[in-house]
């Protein structure tokens, strides 16, 4: 037939792996920032690098990282789940209370927590996809509804460590080869969901829905069903987070998980999840949680005035995100320049 047309976009023989590297650089950049903060803090306070301190770093980031996994799934579809903190609090109290009053077996605590969270997520998902109320509004309302329900249930009757089975609490502080169980559970979830999000068609369709909803509809993607599943997963993981919260602190009042939703969204965004959908990975969100937590604990370790802690953490966060955005802009420009080269022909 005809000779192949002259390439308009320059052939990128060496460019293909470079592109893959650039895309992964988002996660690599966050990891590098975590290590940088860790190193700088250690220079000031050598105890920061002790195994106990490192364990504390991992445990401290675990819950936000876990909730960040579900949040990422929701964010990539161009939605948001603000009810995760409340869901965690409710789940923690309900499970603790069942241990106290019903003496349920340890394993069932996890099952109930997950089921409870999934139910909340299902309600969020149904209202968002069927009634077409923006998820920001739905989950904000859910945040208050559940917080109110939680306060009513607790009603001063807080769960204390002596009422929680010892085997359950062990999950919160026991370690394997020096790594806390809690961190292992979260790492397994992060890696598993991360793999799923890269590898399976329905998961890729979550990205498609968030990247261009109209094109997703034309491609025949059942957007509603996909978004629903994202909300259910986010809720289920928040429920699991409640059980882990109970295991970690062994004490639950009606303030459990208060304000977590903002930490979770911040962690996801710091980790490179686009707030307007379409891109970002759960591994990135988990690393974002690590970064936030390391900054906070690092400030404590260098004895910064506690008055300034939050302000400095916020400032560092802004700097980190700005650097990240600048890098992303450079990537975008390099992608466009390939086009610019032949537009001038």
């Amino acid at each position: 037939m005809t000779a192949p047309a002259a390439p308009l976009t320059p052939v990128q023989a060496p460019g293909v792996p470079r592109m893959a590297r650039l895309l992964r650089a988002r996660e690599a950049g966050t990891l590098a920032l975590v290590l940088l903060v860790f190193l700088l803090t250690t220079l000031k306070n050598h105890n920061f690098a002790s195994s106990g301190s490192i364990q504390q770093l991992l445990v401290g980031a675990s819950l936000v990282a876990l909730l960040g996994v579900g949040e990422t799934m929701v964010l990539v579809t161009r939605n948001v789940d603000l009810s995760v903190g409340s869901t965690l609090g409710l789940s923690a109290f309900v499970v603790g209370n069942l241990f106290r009053t019903e003496g349920i077996p340890v394993w069932s605590g996890f099952v109930i927590a997950i089921a409870l969270g999934a139910t909340v997520g299902a309600v969020n998902g149904l209202i968002t996809t069927l009634v077409k109320v923006p998820s920001l509004v739905v989950t904000l309302a859910m945040l208050y509804i559940i917080r109110g329900l939680d306060s009513k249930l607790v009603n001063g009757n807080i769960v204390v460590p002596s009422q929680v089975p010892h085997a359950f609490i062990e999950v919160g502080y026991e370690t394997v080869l020096g790594i806390p169980w809690l961190a292992i559970i979260v790492a397994v979830v992060v890696i598993a969901v991360g793999y799923v999000m890269r590898t399976f068609r329905p998961a890729r369709e979550l990205y498609a829905v968030g990247s261009n909803p109209d094109a997703a509809a034309l491609a025949g993607i059942p957007s509603g069903r996909r978004v629903f599943v994202a909300f259910v997963t986010s809720g289920a993981l928040a429920g699991l987070g409640g059980a882990l919260f109970l295991a970690l602190f062994a004490q639950v009042d009606n303030s459990a998980g208060l304000g977590y939703e903002l930490n979770v969204v911040a962690a996801a965004v710091v980790g490179g999840v686009a707030i307007f959908g379409g891109s970002g990975t759960v591994v990135g969100a988990a690393l974002g949680a690590m970064l936030l937590n390391t900054i906070q604990q690092g400030l404590v370790a260098v004895n910064s005035s506690s008055f300034w802690d939050e302000a400095i953490a916020g400032g560092l966060l802004l700097i980190a995100i700005s650097i990240d955005r600048l890098l992303a802009l450079r990537v975008a420009r390099s992608l466009r320049s390939a086009e610019g080269a032949h537009r001038e022909l």
Binding site: M1, T2, A3, P4, A5, A6, P7, L8, T9, V11, Q12, G15, V16, M19, A20, L23, R198, T199, F200, R201, R204, E205, Y207, A208, G210, S211, N212, D214, A215, A216, A217, L218, A219, G220, I221, A274, G278, S279, A332, L335, R336, A338, E339, H342, R343, L345
Partner: protein
């Protein structure tokens, strides 16, 4: 957008295709002798939106191995026809046949399943996903455990690109691809779906010369594979270089189908227009007064070049031309929304600063945009608020705006423009298109401008209100306003304007006084069929 003046090379498309088409001689008479049923046939389709009859009798027959042009003026019903074939609209009557069997295309998925792929002027991709994932979304190649096989997916994409004779990195994200490359991705998607019919809606409108040549090579390759291609374009030279069959539509109706080889530019243009202008237009004869707007050699790099003209008091000047020729862009540069690269604009003798709409408004220009929903109105606010919006400075007393003043202003203009409304505070979203346009007009006219720029004044407006808008424009001119009107509807241009300027690919291609302007002359100038007339 990239524009050019020279006629495109015709060679590449035809030479290569002659030997490659396997489905027999493509120039054979399509009607009686054809042994195989048509790949896709639309018979007598009609479609109305409310009172507007967008398509009255749409018919077209697409055969494998043939590129079929669909031609017609703006508003002839081409887009509606395309959307019916794409499954986006369901026809009120008429039938669709695929390979001789009647089908119902009740959604984009059904059209896809029937082997029909539509490539829109602005492709619909997922910017965050890779090129290959865009092609195979929902159908990604999988290995054991239904896991996506990225290697195979990229290889498959490369294979399709090779068949099309293009080079594109399948692993890069779609974000940042040029429109031409995005179209290639869409075409690759269609091929991966084994589409037997490809419909391209003005694919070349946003492409450069080189990109058009490449697209034509791709279309030729598609033809060689036996695909039926429907090609919509306003550029007749492209039609002659790539198409074997031509179907012409006018006023929502099928006019004719003929082999391209048997047609010439004259016949096509006559078939596309060819109707009498009814007495829809009332024209008050006015003697133009002093020059209000003087545009001198304005250029916006890559958009339009060396445009000069003037508009006098009491005169209606129309900017005609095809969609995308740069008419709106000229108006935007005059008003200052876009910056001019060079040239000057003077209003009543005073130079207007470049890129400053506020100064243009203060100097006395009113700009009624084409897209009134997006740019002209605050849809959720009431009629009174919307009319007053551009006059808030004049209405305010000590920094406060009194509702009564707003209302009074709005009532005055509602009466003058014969606005049909329930209550003044009703949201303008509840009004019909024509009445919305009157609200926008009222908003700008209440500033008593000396120059009114109005872009597509009657788009999406029913026939009755259309005539009213035309009467308002005529009346304004009679009262001494200078009017610059952009319109894609030739009858409107001929009926309303005192003078017609035609823009072709960013340059003035003709100027006609009312007395000697005809649809034929304007269409020729707009499609670049005449040597550049003196501007």
């Amino acid at each position: 957008m990239v524009l050019h003046m020279e006629v495109r090379s015709v060679g590449a498309g035809n030479e290569a295709s002659d030997g490659a088409a396997p489905a027999g001689p493509s120039s054979a008479a399509p009607d009686d002798a054809a042994p195989a049923p048509a790949a896709l046939e639309l018979r007598h389709a009609a479609k109305s939106f409310g009172a507007v009859k967008a398509l009255i009798d749409g018919s077209v027959v697409l055969r494998g191995g043939e590129v079929h042009a669909l031609l017609g003026e703006n508003g002839a019903g081409k887009s509606t026809l395309v959307k019916i074939l794409a499954g986006v609209h369901q026809p009120d009557s008429g039938e669709v046949l695929v390979n001789g069997a009647e089908v119902t295309l009740n959604g984009p998925a059904a059209a896809r399943a029937a082997g029909i792929a539509v490539i829109y002027q602005e492709p619909m991709l997922f910017p965050d996903l890779t090129v290959s994932e865009n092609i195979f979304m929902g159908r990604q190649p999988v290995r054991a455990g239904r896991r996506i096989d990225r290697g195979a997916m990229n290889r498959d994409a490369n294979e399709i690109f090779a068949q099309l004779g293009v080079v594109l990195d399948p692993a890069r994200p779609a974000r940042g691809l040029s429109v031409a490359d995005q179209q290639i991705v869409e075409i690759a998607k269609a091929l991966s779906l084994n589409a037997s019919v490809l419909i391209m809606d003005e694919p070349t409108a946003a492409l450069s010369n080189v990109e058009v040549d490449r697209l034509f090579r791709v279309i030729t390759a598609l033809r060689g594979r036996g695909a039926a291609v429907m090609f919509i374009s306003h550029r007749l030279e492209e039609v002659f270089s790539i198409c074997q069959q031509v179907t012409i539509m006018r006023d929502g109706k099928f006019v004719m189908t003929a082999p391209a080889a048997e047609l010439d530019v004259d016949t096509i243009i006559r078939s596309m227009i060819g109707r009498d202008l009814g007495e829809m237009y009332h024209k008050t004869g006015t003697v133009p007064g002093e020059v209000v707007l003087a545009v001198d050699q304005i250029t916006r790099e890559n958009v339009f070049y060396d445009v000069s003209f003037s508009v006098r008091r009491g005169e209606v000047v129309a900017l005609a031309g095809l969609v995308g020729a740069g008419r709106t862009e000229v108006a935007r540069a005059i008003f200052g929304i876009d910056r001019r690269s060079s040239g000057s604009v003077r209003l009543l003798g005073k130079a207007l600063p470049n890129g400053d709409p506020t100064a243009a408004m203060a100097a006395g220009i009113a700009f009624v945009p084409e897209d009134r929903r997006q740019q002209g109105l605050v849809m959720d606010l009431g009629i009174d608020h919307n009319v007053a919006l551009a006059s808030l400075h004049r209405l305010s007393k000590g920094g406060l705006i009194f509702r009564s003043a707003e209302r009074q202003l709005a009532v005055t203009w509602a009466d003058r423009l014969q606005l049909k409304y329930g209550r003044m505070r009703d949201a303008v979203s509840t009004l019909s298109g024509g009445n919305q346009q009157k609200v926008v007009l009222g908003k700008w006219l209440s500033r008593s401008p000396s120059l009114l720029i109005i872009d597509e004044p009657t788009r999406g407006i029913d026939v009755g209100t259309k005539a009213e808008v035309h009467r308002i424009i005529d009346q304004l001119a009679a009262e001494g306003m200078a009017v610059l009107m952009i319109s894609s509807e030739l009858p409107e241009v001929l009926g309303v304007a005192d003078r017609v300027l035609v823009i072709h690919e960013g340059r003035l291609a003709g100027e006609f006084a009312r007395a000697d302007a005809t649809e034929d002359k304007i269409m020729r100038a707009a499609t670049g069929q005449v040597a550049e007339a003196a501007a």
